[in-house]
Symmetry: C2
Subunit: 482 residues, 2 copies
């Protein structure tokens, strides 16, 4: 077994943190200088710290890192990098408790979008820009992680690729990890620019167009206003944001294929996308009907408009809202939690269990029914044309079991703190799926500020666990001891 070299980890980690801090802090710094606000140090100091780390690491001789070391870096960066934005928040003085600031930072980078802020609009614009950027950088980082580090020769990586890439991609591009990463970054950038442009031409000012877009394509959900997307007071913006939430929750590689082939066939051929769009459509239909019949809205149009936005926001695990839905009919609330739990398409910025795993579960069930009826036929479930061997099947279920156990464990921690069942369970779902808002004490009109420091720290870990799809986390923890 290879020894893990902390120096090599530190060297690469410092480099990654330096790059991330440039993307994260330079734009708010420029905006801060432009506005001549008093927040300049909030952005300069983190850049300086990351530069310092990077300089220190320059003394270490460059070496190829092993797969285990890469995995450790990929996991630990989610815990470490948010410390820099924690420093920003603390320096600004708008968040005074370090745990609060860390929670807000982790919530940003994991694209969860859960907040401890009680009055968002009190914060200076440059700081809110930084806050939205944490969503954007986190979303990008997650997708790049999924296609690069995790698709390495580690067994875990191979299996994820096996599951997560569409067949077409897998055959053509899998070995060229760097190329896939470049494609994904390009798609993400184009998507971002397109949404900013669309919001801007429909009358949203550039600052809001940019901040809302950062949190939309990342399915992050941080908004620079207290009432989320309702704060924009624009119906066209609602629909643009709905569209881009869905676009951000679909495998980014498919856009590149569609662009290359000048055809949308890649979308219609992808079982995940079809299932996903189908599920969302049915859910929008149900919620529109329920909101109308239960009298929440008097017109079918309004029932559709509000129902659709909230459902899409939940299904994409974005967590934006256009109304305080906490008193809505319980069936719609239940549906929203369920959709967040099911989650988005793999290879996207969205969270949750992911659609391909749902498809997988149904295949297993269907296979068992067939097998019982025809005991002599050996049935083996397949995904995207490949028969799954027992290792892949076991890893899949291990993931699902761990996901559910974590969900239950963190809910239980919250109930121990005296929070009611709806608050505890929905907050745990909101954090592990990277949805953001929950119900009860953490509903859309509320936030996570009422939780204790211990609970906020636990939920920060849950957000990272959920984002990393857990197994690599556990591996990283155990890798040295086993």
């Amino acid at each position: 077994m290879n020894k893990i070299r902390l120096s090599a980890i530190f060297k690469l980690q410092s480099f990654i943190i330096f790059i991330l801090s440039l993307i994260t802090f330079v734009i708010p710094l420029i905006y801060s200088v432009y506005l001549e606000d008093e927040e300049i140090l909030c952005y300069i100091i983190p850049i300086f710290i990351s530069l310092l780390l990077f300089s220190l690491s320059a003394a270490i001789k460059a070496e190829n890192i092993t797969e285990k070391e890469a995995l450790i870096i990929a996991v630990s960066v989610w815990f470490v990098f948010p410390v820099l934005t924690t420093i920003s928040y603390l320096l600004s003085g708008y968040i005074s408790d370090p745990i609060d600031a860390y929670f807000e930072s982790v919530s940003g980078f994991t694209t969860t979008g859960a907040s401890i802020l009680t009055d968002i609009e009190k914060l200076p614009e440059s700081l809110l820009l930084l806050r939205s950027l944490t969503n954007w950088v986190g979303g990008l980082g997650f997708v790049v992680l999924a296609v690069s580090v995790l698709s390495s020769r580690l067994p875990i990586g191979r299996s994820i690729v096996k599951f997560e890439s569409s067949k077409i991609i897998e055959e053509r591009i899998e070995p060229k990890v760097k190329e896939v990463a470049r494609i994904v970054i390009t798609v993400y950038l184009v998507m971002t620019l397109l949404q900013i442009f669309l919001l801007y031409i429909t009358g949203i000012d550039l600052y809001n167009a940019i901040t809302y877009t950062f949190s939309t394509v990342a399915t992050g959900g941080f908004a620079p206003k207290n009432d989320s997307v309702a704060g924009l007071s624009s119906t066209s913006a609602e629909f643009i944001i709905s569209l881009f939430m869905i676009l951000g929750a679909i495998n980014l590689q498919l856009y590149y294929i569609a662009f290359k082939k000048k055809s949308l066939k890649s979308f219609f051929k992808d079982p995940e996308v079809i299932t996903y769009v189908g599920i969302i459509s049915v859910a929008v239909g149900i919620s529109t009907a329920v909101l109308y019949i239960s009298g929440t809205y008097n017109s079918l149009w309004e029932s559709f408009r509000y129902g659709m936005f909230q459902i899409v926001s939940a299904a994409t695990t974005t967590g934006f809202s256009t109304t305080d839905y906490s008193e809505w009919h319980p069936s719609v609330l239940y549906l929203m939690l369920l959709l967040a739990l099911i989650g988005a398409v793999s290879g996207s910025t969205g969270g949750g269990i992911k659609i391909f795993r749902l498809i997988f579960m149904f295949k297993i069930i269907a296979g068992e029914i067939k097998r019982i009826a025809h005991p002599k036929i050996i049935y083996r479930p397949s995904l995207k044309g490949k028969v799954l061997d027992i290792s892949t099947v076991n890893m899949f279920w291990a993931f699902l079991s761990l996901y559910l156990f974590s969900l239950i464990f963190f809910s239980f921690i919250l109930t121990l703190g005296g929070h009611d069942l709806v608050t505890s369970f929905s907050a745990s779902i909101a954090c592990i799926t990277s949805l953001g808002p929950g119900l009860g004490e953490v509903g859309p009109a509320s936030n996570f500020s009422s939780f204790s420091d211990f609970e906020k720290l636990m939920l920060s870990f849950e957000m990272i666990f959920g984002r990393l799809e857990i197994i690599p986390v556990i591996t990283a923890v155990f890798i040295r001891s086993i």
Copy 2:
């Protein structure tokens, strides 16, 4: 593929129903005659109907039935037999709605113990005896079903035996299904007589000793009094009932082995029993601490006494209560729902997912962690010394997926009816696990009477689905069409 012969099914079904109706209705009939109450017809008519069916079936030539036919009988009897007690309830006039009466009947035979009665004590004693007997007969029927029909040569049966029997039993007795059934029935009878005796010598009158015992060993939870076990006003009875709830929730075959070998080693060697007792102990410890610290009770003794009973009642899926716990600290309520969902030991009368499946999940997770750390080692999970092949693994996960989907589906049906999230989710857990009472509208001081007829019917099906551990149900539905 064999043709399914309805006449053969009808013949055996009629015979089984006749036997069941003798066990179910003769005792209340005798008690009714003894009391000279006005309910005699409620017991005579169902016996007469089953006798009529049996006589009609006598005209059919006896044939060996196939495995598929046996499966169909084993499933359909849970839907059909409760019709007879439905008739009893309706004839008595104490339940006037047929769906209510069917719900109460299914709830009895599935040992769920959920009730639509708002004033139980209004019912005549002979009818309450019948009601407790539905629990007792259902619990016995379930265990016999598990060891006989399901352990046939059907692949489903074989796999269940593989999982459910302890290794010792499997090697020695598996082929002799009838012998195992006889052992299980004997253990059940001895357990019943022992509990009646213990309750009686501690001062409970014979009628209550018998009715409470019927619902205890079956982990059923029907009580002849409005406040469940609190109605007995006896601390010693509480502890006797706690003990027998646990005894009823442990593999009945283990008692026989212990008796034969004059040693309790079979219990300590069984990983399910050890895990189960461990989980209950930890949960009792937590709940005692929480109830004391949160000030629900002022003394540690009372915190233990009430905490222990409610936790044991939930973990064994019995559903008895000694207090209205609905306002207890949320962590204890959460723990109770979780324990019911995890369920009891296989081969017992208890419900839920079952302990061996929990152990299995942990083995899969542990295996994956080992595999990631040592990619070259092929790791295969095993249970009770046997390596599990991919078919067994798939069937296990198919069960778990279907169980969770059903739980979610039925909860959603309830939210559509406008019930709040806690009511809907807990009612669905209470029905699928055969726990009985839930929280919110269906809490311990309340009942299922506020649900609509449609909802009661759906929950009746959910109780049967949960009791049959689902896959045979699906198979029976699909077996003709596939």
